[in-house]
């Protein structure tokens, strides 16, 4: 009997050879259905270094020329956020499917335009919400489905993002940095991950949004607090530049809680003690110890199988996206979901700005009081 012939690999090209491009090129090499044919950057030096390290044959500093000559099936867009919309439109117009890094677009209006263009061209889109496909998050989802915490009631996402880090320091040192020109500033470039982790379990199209940002020692907002209220589920997001780097989401159900630590690649389950009084105080540490032992065993096994990779989620998402193109099935992340996340981000930043304006309006009164004193 003849073996089934695998479908031909899809030709991938990448535009924007900055830091995150490395992750795309590294993970693409692990996906059987991908053949990387070209890289493009407005700086030829950047395109050349990416091509040299990842052995990519096509090197371009002009997108039009790359689209015409390399003829990719899929274009990955890993450029600064404000260019995502126009570049996606260009790639769609050239007949390509597009994988675009987060955030999807500058705002929901641009997102609607891009999605309309993709639907009209019958091309597929993918947004870099890769942590939804991280093995630890997939495990969390399956444990929720198995009823380990009952019905989900609240999701809490924390992103610790010290500004002293590599990218943060560059943004802080340059008042004209593109990140600071975004409508949501630093947050627009960073909160997609903690936000979509909440929205993955909070299905409301229009949850009520309350948000506030604040400054620390920098001249731009670096702290953010968001409350989301759906019909049955609530969410809260904390972005802080003053705590250590962390990516943690806690999912609270009516019977327990799952804590997902993306950096440690662990999941810890908490439930109320079954034993009464003081016995419960012994039961709880024992259960926590058992959870820790399970996580160690799980990660040790994954390590032995060479499965611990920072961008595992990206590889899984990429594989799903390429499969959806080859088999013409539904995208791993729907256009409606991309639009929903973008709309909610718009609402978050609008609410932050309106609160900031109200605080600024309040300032003169305080000054008057000081004068009176």
């Amino acid at each position: 009997m003849n073996k089934p012939v695998p479908p031909p690999r899809l030709r991938m090209a990448l535009i924007g050879c900055g830091q995150i491009a490395d992750a795309h090129l590294q993970e693409a090499a692990k996906v059987d259905s991908v053949e990387v044919v070209a890289v493009c950057d407005m700086h030829m030096d950047l395109a050349k270094q990416a091509a040299a390290r990842f052995r990519v044959p096509g090197i371009y500093d002009n997108l039009d020329r790359m689209l015409a000559e390399a003829k990719p099936d899929v274009v990955h867009i890993t450029t600064p956020a404000h260019t995502h919309g126009p570049l996606t439109m260009k790639a769609l117009a050239a007949g390509c499917h597009v994988y675009v890094e987060k955030p999807f677009t500058l705002d929901a209006i641009e997102a609607e335009t891009v999605i309309a263009a993709a639907e009209s061209a019958e091309k597929k889109l993918c947004i870099g919400h890769d942590q939804l496909f991280d093995p630890t998050w997939l495990d969390c989802r399956s444990r929720i489905a198995a009823g380990q915490i009952g019905h989900v009631r609240h999701i809490e996402s924390t992103l610790g993002y010290p500004i002293s880090g590599q990218f943060g320091a560059v943004v802080a040192g340059d008042p004209r940095h593109w990140v600071r020109q975004l409508p949501g500033g630093l947050f627009q470039n960073t909160i997609s991950h903690p936000l979509y982790r909440i929205l993955d379990l909070l299905p409301d199209l229009h949850p009520r949004v309350e948000a506030r940002w604040d400054r620390t020692k920098y001249d731009f907002p670096t702290e953010l607090w968001v409350q989301l209220r759906g019909a049955e589920i609530t969410g809260s997001l904390t972005f802080s530049s003053s705590v250590y780097a962390q990516r943690v989401t806690r999912v609270y159900g009516d019977q327990g809680m799952l804590e997902v630590d993306f950096d440690a690649q662990t999941i810890r389950r908490h439930t109320a003690p079954k034993l009464p009084g003081a016995f419960g105080r012994l039961e709880m540490p024992f259960r926590q110890w058992r959870e820790g032992a399970r996580n160690l065993q799980r990660n040790l096994w994954r390590f032995l199988k060479c499965e611990i990779h920072y961008f595992s989620g990206m590889r899984n998402l990429m594989a799903e996206f390429y499969r959806s193109i080859q088999q013409d099935t539904e995208q791993p992340i729907t256009n409606a979901e991309m639009l929903r996340v973008t709309r909610i981000m718009d609402e978050i930043f609008a609410d932050c700005r309106s609160r900031e304006e109200r605080v600024e309006e309040f300032v003169p009164e305080t000054r008057e009081l000081e004068v009176v004193r």
């Binding site: 050879c17 900055g18 830091q19 491009a21 490395d22 590294q26 692990k30 700086h43 030096d45 950047l46 270094q49 990416a50 040299a52 390290r53 590599q166 802080a172 040192g173 340059d174 008042p175 390590f303 060479c306 499965e307 611990i308 990779h309």
Partner: protein
């Protein structure tokens, strides 16, 4: 002489600025909006500060660089990225250098002094014990090196390209590992830090080091010296220690480091094993150690600073013992 200096608030740059000022140059010093200018001012001192002109900006384009250079007749390009991935290094080192070279060429400066690195040579293919000097070719496989070295090799290639295309008078300084107060004396030439433990690689290889004041003097001399157009100079101090000697000296100074020793014959095979595992596991452990990199980094070589002494007239005035004491007193092993 009017010198446009980049990186003037940094570890080496501030000392280059001071050295230039002491020799009577006017220094137009590039600072970023976030730069610590007060610290620079206190380092330079009140008497010399009058010779400093601060210009705020970024090397973000040829026109911007042209404005920043102003009427300077010499460009001394010290600024470079020291950390980050390859793309970040290129973005912060190679691309600004391209802009600055083009602007300097347009401005018709009398000299462009570029700070490169001793790491740019193809040391991996040299025999153990071979001499490494300015005749040694640049690495023909820079993409196999670490991100910093890769960016410095390409940065230097770009500078040579500009000289060939525009006759820009170019002098390249290739310092070894620059150490001094605040930066300490340990580097990855001795070994790799793994948490609190140092994996000491070999130990009998001479460390290609230069004390920051000695290096600054060489850079300053490159701005003034005659007949050095189109020349590159290795900057290394005299009387350099081996890795073992340095660690022993640190221990005697009460700054002992917990070290795990990898004997010289084991470095190559272990690097190959690590490289294989990294590839086989599809990057579960990052490919930071490869056979090529360890051959480039930890080979026993003879380094020469003879050309800098002969043609630049430079001497490393601070001896290693004095430099070591100053570095230890300044904090950080």
């Amino acid at each position: 002489m009017n010198v446009f200096l980049t990186g003037g608030t940094g570890f080496l740059g501030r000392r280059v600025a001071k050295s230039l000022l002491e020799r009577g140059a006017h220094v137009r010093c590039l600072v970023r909006p976030s730069s610590d200018v007060r610290s620079l001012q206190s380092f330079i001192g009140h008497d010399l500060w009058n010779g400093v002109e601060l210009v705020t900006g970024d090397l973000t384009g040829v026109d911007a660089c042209r404005r920043l250079i102003g009427h300077s007749d010499t460009v001394c390009h010290v600024a470079a990225s020291l950390s980050g991935g390859t793309a970040v290094m290129f973005l912060n080192t190679v691309i600004p250098t391209r802009y600055l070279l083009a602007a300097a060429s347009q401005a018709g400066v009398r000299r462009f002094v570029q700070i490169s690195s001793l790491g740019v040579y193809e040391a991996a293919n040299l025999l153990t014990g071979a001499q490494l000097d300015e005749q040694t070719p640049l690495d023909s496989h820079p993409e196999l090196r670490d991100p910093y070295t890769y960016s410095k090799i390409v940065q230097e290639q770009v500078a040579w390209e500009y000289r060939a295309q525009t006759n820009l008078p170019l002098t390249i300084i290739r310092p070894g590992v620059i150490y001094g107060p605040g930066r300490g004396v340990l580097s990855n030439r001795v070994g790799l830090k793994l948490g609190p433990v140092l994996i000491k690689m070999g130990g009998s290889q001479t460390l290609p080091y230069t004390y920051v004041d000695n290096c600054a003097a060489a850079v300053s001399q490159a701005c003034f010296a005659e007949n050095v157009d189109g020349q590159a100079f290795n900057i290394l101090d005299d009387g350099l220690p081996t890795g073992t000697q340095l660690l022993r000296k640190l221990r005697r100074a009460g700054q002992g480091v917990r070290a795990l020793w990898v004997p010289r014959p084991m470095i190559g095979p272990l690097s190959s094993v690590y490289e294989w595992y990294s590839r086989w596991s599809q990057g579960q452990l990052p490919g930071v150690i490869t056979r090529y990199r360890s051959d480039s980094m930890w080979k026993k070589l003879n380094y020469s600073n003879a050309k800098a002494k002969a043609q630049l007239g430079w001497r490393p005035h601070v001896t290693f013992d004095e430099a070591f004491d100053r570095s230890i007193a300044g904090g950080q092993a």
